[in-house]
Amino acid sequence: MARWSLAVGARRHSFHDLRELLAKATPARAGDELAGLAATSAEERVAAQACLADVPLALFLREPLIPPEQDEVSRLILAQHDPAAFRPVAGLTVGQFREWLLRYETDDAALAALAPGLTPEMVAAATKLMANQDLILIARKRRVVTRFRSTVGLPGRLSFRLQPNHPTDDPAGITASLVDGLLYGCGDAVLGINPATDHVGAVHDLLGLLDRVITRYGIPTQSCVLAHVTTQLAALRRGAPLDLMFQSIAGTEAANRSFGVDLALLAEARAATLALGRGGPQVMYFETGQGSALSADAHHGVDQQTCEARAYAVARAFDPFLVNSVVGFIGPEYLRDGREIIRAGLEDHCCGKLLGLPMGVDVCHTNHAAADQNDMDTLLTLLGVAGCNYFMGVPGADDVMLGYQSTSFHDAQYLRQVLGLRPAPEFEAWLERMGLARDGRLLPVAPNHALLP
C-alpha cells in the first residue's frame, strides 16, 4: 500500500516508504541507478520531489531510515537530536523548511542555533528540493570556524590543505612538494600526507618530517598523515608528534566497519590525540564521499546522498577541525560525469554546513570519469562563492600517489584573487613575514630564500 502518491496526467506515481521517496527524489546520479534505487523517469523524480515537499520534518524523527537496533549511526543520530533547537522548524514540511532556510532572516546565528536540532535525513531531504543556487546561498550564510594552530573558516578567508604526496613516501620528494606549496601560499588548513602504505614506522617518520618543517620555519599550521586510525594510534603510542587524527568515515555502521572503524574507536583516537595537548580544541580530520556505503554494500537501501549526510552525524560527534567530501574520487559508477560531481559537491558542502561542520571539499575527478579540469574550475568557483572553508592544494592538480586530479596551488591563487579571499590570518601573517606574499599577491621568490635548500 503506497503511503505517498501523486497523479500526473494519466499516470499515478506511488512511493512506499521514506527511503524510496528520498531515493527517487534525488537528482539523477549513477550510484543510485547502480543500487536500483533511482527514479525510473524524469517525471517520477519530480513526482517524488512533490511528495517529499509535503512530508513533515518531524516524521524523520519518528521513522528512522535505518533501524537503530541495527545501526549505531542511527542511534547516534537520535541521541544527538536536540528538541529545543529543533523548535523553530518543528512544524514545517520539507518544502517549507527549504523556504525557511532561504529567508533573509535566516542568518548564521539562526543556522548555528538550529544545527543540533537537525538530523542528516532532514537536511538531505531539503537539499533534494534545492536548485544549485539554493545550495550555494544557504551554505554561504553559515560560517563554521575551527582552530588548531591556525584558524580556519573565518569570513573573508579561504584555506588550503597542502597535499605533498609521493608514490613511495620519499622524504626528499615530499619535502620538495611541501616547499613548492608553501612558496605558493598554501598549507594553512593542514600539511596532510596520504601515505603510500599503511605502515606504522612510515607514519611515525612522516609525522616527524612535518613536525620538523613546522617547527623550523614557525609555520602556524598543523600536520596530518592520513593513514588508518589504528596505524596513527600505533605511531602516536611510539611517540610520533601527531597534530590531527584522520579517518575516512561513512554514514552507516556497516560501511564504517568496512573501513575498520566504529564510534568507540573514533572516540578512543580523539581522546588519545587530545591528551597530547599539541593544539586545538579541534583535533580530528575526517574525509567522506557519496557512494562509500554502496561500495561496501552497506547502504540499507538508502540513497547515496542521504548516506553521505549521515556520515556528517558521525563527524560532528567528534568536534572535528576539518571535514571534507572527496567528491569525485570514487569514480563514474557513483558520480557519472562533471555535472553529477558538481551537483554532489554543492550538496555535500551545504549539508555539512547545515549540520555544523567545518566543511571543505576535495574538488576532484579520476581519469575513468567523464570529467576534466574545466569541471573542477566550475565547482571550485561555485564552492568558493558558497563559502567553503578549504580545498586541496596538490602540485599542478596532479596527485602522483593517489592517481587522481584535484585542485592546485595555482587554483588557490586564482580563487583568492577572483573572490578577494585571504588565507587564515595566522598563516597570512607568516607569509608576509617570510616575504612570500603581500596584499593577497605572491611576491617573487629569491633563489636564496630561507625555504629553499
Binding site: A30, L34, H166, P167, T168, D170, A172, G173, I174, T175, A176, S177, V179, D180, L183, Y184, A196, T197, D198, H199, V200, G201, A234, R257, S258, F259, G260, D262, L265, A296, G331, P332, E333, N367, H368, Q373, V394, P395, G396, A397, D398, D399, V400, G403, Q405, S408, H410, A412, Q413, Y414, Q417, R441, L442, P444, V445, A446, P447, H449, L452, P453
Partner: protein
C-alpha cells in the same frame, strides 16, 4: 635578486626547479600572475589525454596467458560478470563476481585442483597496460618464494574486467586459505600503468576492504615488481602465520615477524 631574468616575458619561472629531481610531482611550474603558464597547461592536457586513452585501452588476456606460460606459471582464463569496458565502468557489482559459465567451469576444476594455500587472480582493472607489463615480473619471484616455503598455489586466473572483491568469490570457490588479486589501478597523469595487489586471509562473501592488505603503485618507477614481490611474500607469510589480514595485520609486524606490534582487531 629576483628570479625573472627577462622582464618582458609575462610568465615567471620558479627558482626551485632543481627540486624536481626529487619527485614526479608537478612542482616549480612557474606562474603568470598566480596562474599556470601556457606550457605547463598544455603539458597537463596531454597527460590527461593519455590517461583517458589508457582507461580505454583493451586487455589482451591471451597475451598475458602466453607470458605466464613462458615464465613457467600455470594459469587459466576466466570471465567476470562484466562483458565489456563500458559495463565494467558503470557496474562494479558485475566485476566483483564470476560470469555464470566461468563459475561452473571453475567449480569443476576446483575439485581436481583441491584446496590450496593461495589463489591468484590477474586482471586489467582500470589499466590494461599495468597488468600487461608488471603482473608476470611480480608473480614470478613471488610464486618462486612461496613455493620454496612449501606453499601450494592454484593456477593463476586471468580475469578481464575484475574488481578487488572477486578474490573473495574465487578464493572461497577454490577453497584456498588466502587469495591475492593483481589489477591495474586508476591511471594517474603520467602514470598510466600502476599495478595494485590485494590479499585476503580466509576469502569469502563476508570479507570487506578492512580484511585486506594492499600493496600499490607497482611499476618500475614506483615500487618495482621484485620489491613488490618481496613485500607481498612478507605479508602473505605473516597473514598465514597469524591467521588474519587487513587492518589488524600491520606491515611492520609482518616484516618483523612480531605479532605483538599489531593492535587488536577493531
Amino acid at each position: 635578486m629576483l628570479s625573472s631574468p627577462e622582464p618582458s616575458l609575462p610568465a615567471r619561472p620558479d627558482p626551485w626547479t632543481a627540486l624536481r629531481a626529487h619527485t614526479p610531482a608537478r612542482i616549480a611550474l612557474g606562474r603568470a600572475g598566480g596562474s599556470l603558464p601556457t606550457a605547463a597547461r598544455l603539458d597537463f592536457l596531454l597527460a590527461h589525454a593519455r590517461a583517458r586513452d589508457a582507461v580505454q585501452a583493451s586487455f589482451d588476456a591471451e597475451a598475458l596467458a602466453g607470458a605466464l606460460a613462458a615464465a613457467g606459471i600455470a594459469h587459466a582464463v576466466a570471465a567476470s560478470g562484466a562483458a565489456d569496458r563500458a559495463t565494467y565502468l558503470a557496474r562494479p557489482d558485475l566485476g566483483r563476481r564470476l560470469a555464470p559459465a566461468s563459475r561452473r567451469d571453475l567449480e569443476a576444476r576446483a575439485a581436481a585442483w583441491g584446496g590450496r594455500d593461495l589463489a591468484v587472480i590477474v586482471s586489467d582493472g582500470l589499466s590494461a597496460p599495468a597488468a600487461q607489463r608488471h603482473a608476470v615480473p611480480t608473480l614470478a619471484p613471488l610464486l618462486a618464494r612461496l613455493t620454496a616455503a612449501g606453499w601450494s598455489v592454484t593456477p593463476v586466473l586471468v580475469v578481464p574486467f575484475a574488481r578487488v572483491k572477486l578474490q573473495d568469490e574465487l578464493g572461497a570457490l577454490l577453497r584456498s586459505r588466502l587469495s591475492l588479486i593483481l589489477l591495474g589501478e586508476r591511471p594517474g597523469l603520467g602514470v598510466p600503468d600502476s599495478l595494485g595487489a590485494y590479499l585476503t586471509h580466509g576469502p569469502g562473501p563476508d570479507r570487506t576492504d578492512a580484511d585486506r592488505n594492499c600493496v600499490s603503485n607497482i611499476r618500475p618507477e614506483g615500487l618495482p615488481p621484485a620489491a613488490a614481490a618481496e613485500r607481498l611474500a612478507g605479508l602473505l607469510l605473516a597473514a598465514a602465520r597469524l591467521g588474519r589480514s587487513g587492518t589488524s595485520l600491520k606491515e611492520d609486524a609482518a616484516l618483523a615477524g612480531d605479532a605483538e606490534l599489531s593492535p587488536p582487531a577493531p
